[in-house]
């Protein structure tokens, strides 16, 4: 079921909905203790760079306060992840009093250079709450995400009427009578002054021609 594609990131073929696959090294940690009981936790040995798999597409890499303070080895880790897999990686970083000075450079690196998502947490407790929400998000239907919902189709008529009224000299009444005669903006824009005069009178007809040409 689990195959090794690359030494750095193990490809997981199936994380059941509502489960989180956790690297063995997290067993017994505060974070995992707080996850248990809320969502189902599965342990797996040697997930490599990834700390938590939320689904087949999405995973979390955790950067602790200590990682930040020690130096930039976390950068190498993230670059290796980025090169090794096309999973959607979310970087969770401990932003504490001690590590906050490093946060701007981490953010710049993760978001702007690697193009991954980054979320700061204060401690493992907050991280566990966050992971629970991320797992919920992954297990929901796409329609539940308000930012992924397809927008409803709107009738174009009111907008077209409004667009026509942006032409100098044309108000609502003239816009409507023009549209009866020339049903699209394209038609109207290509009508001759004579054709337009028949609907709105000579002066406005000239104004409309002048606007388009």
């Amino acid at each position: 079921m689990v195959e090794l594609e690359n030494t750095s990131v193990q490809v997981v073929s199936a994380v059941p909905l509502g489960h989180v696959l956790v690297d063995e090294k997290w067993r017994g940690s505060e974070l995992v203790q707080k996850l248990q009981g809320k969502i189902r936790v599965l342990f797996e040995d040697g997930l490599g760079l990834v700390d938590f798999h939320l689904s087949n597409r999405c995973c979390v890499i955790y950067i602790s306060e200590a990682d930040l303070v020690v130096g930039s080895s976390y950068k190498r880790k993230l670059v290796r992840f980025r090169n090794a897999s096309n999973l959607r990686g979310i970087v969770v970083v401990e932003k504490t009093r001690m590590s906050e000075q490093y946060f701007p450079s981490v953010q710049k690196f993760v978001l702007l250079e690697l193009g991954m998502a980054l979320i700061p947490v204060a401690d493992q407790g907050e991280a566990s709450q966050l992971i629970i929400q991320l797992v919920h998000e992954e297990s929901k239907e796409r329609d539940h995400n308000p930012f992924l919902r397809r927008n409803r189709l709107h009738l174009a008529e009111p907008s077209v009427l409004n667009t026509i009224q942006q032409i100098p000299g044309v108000g609502k009444i003239k816009a409507l009578s023009l549209l009866q005669e020339f049903p699209s903006i394209h038609h109207l824009g290509n009508a001759t002054t004579e054709e337009l005069s028949a609907v709105v009178g000579h002066t406005v007809a000239q104004q409309i021609r002048a606007f388009f040409s």
Partner: protein, 233 residues
């Protein structure tokens, strides 16, 4: 199209409302990062940093309050209809003199919002002050420039072009920068409405999908029967 000079200054469009809520952001962009800031009424976008990216600045207190959920999602929808890329900068609230900084209580709502936004591909950045927000905006402007999406048209519109700009802005889901591009890349409105989808796409600097939407709108056959009663004079 030839106006893109190597020396052309970087540019950000700033919504006029942002000047009252975050005055230091714009001044910092101008002074510290030498980025040209053009203040305009952008109908809902706080900052436009490139031909395709809008940035919204949110205070943590505002972002974390579930009271604002509907308004916020509506706002993001609107941006999604206009822009290919959206970025949210969550900025720490300012502590007024004599006020002790409130401890931010992380809620389930806050985490679920972050999860939903990330899963929809919206970038989220965190900032502690207006200066830092300006720094992040500057980074984004530079990043978008490297990706050839920088704003290169003049941001001022004079004379009869202003009427053309209003006309383009009235097209549904056309952002201010797209209207501005249309305004400067087509010498007349007549030329624009007779253009092919490809031509619109290259001149307005939008995806072919977006160009098609604009093209369909220009060619849409109006039917007065379909007009809602409130629109009939």
């Amino acid at each position: 199209f030839g106006i893109q000079g190597k020396t052309s200054p970087l540019c950000v469009l700033v919504d006029s409302r942002e000047i009252s809520s975050g005055p230091e952001v714009a001044s910092c962009l101008r002074i510290k990062y030498s980025i040209k800031t053009e203040i305009q009424s952008l109908c809902g976008c706080d900052y436009i940093v490139s031909n395709r990216m809008a940035v919204t600045r949110k205070l943590v207190s505002d972002f974390a309050s579930s009271m604002n959920k509907n308004k916020f999602t509506e706002h993001i929808h609107q941006l999604q209809n206009m822009f290919e890329r959206i970025c949210i900068i969550v900025e720490k609230d300012r502590v007024k003199a004599g006020e002790t900084s409130r401890i931010f209580q992380r809620t389930k709502y806050y985490d679920s919002m972050l999860s939903a936004l990330i899963s929809a591909g919206i970038k989220i950045l965190f900032s502690t002050s207006q200066e830092e927000t300006a720094g992040l905006l500057a980074e984004l402007v530079n990043l978008e420039k490297r990706k050839n999406a920088a704003i290169v048209v003049p941001t001022e519109v004079k004379g009869p072009k202003q009427q053309a700009l209003q006309f383009y802005l009235s097209i549904p889901n056309v952002s201010y920068i797209t209207a501005l591009n249309l305004c400067h890349q087509f010498s007349t409105v007549g030329q624009m409405i007779n253009s092919s989808v490809d031509k619109i796409s290259s001149c307005a600097q939008v995806s072919s999908h977006k160009a098609e939407e604009i093209y369909r709108y220009i060619h849409y056959a109006f039917d007065s029967q379909m007009l809602p009663a409130r629109c009939i004079p």
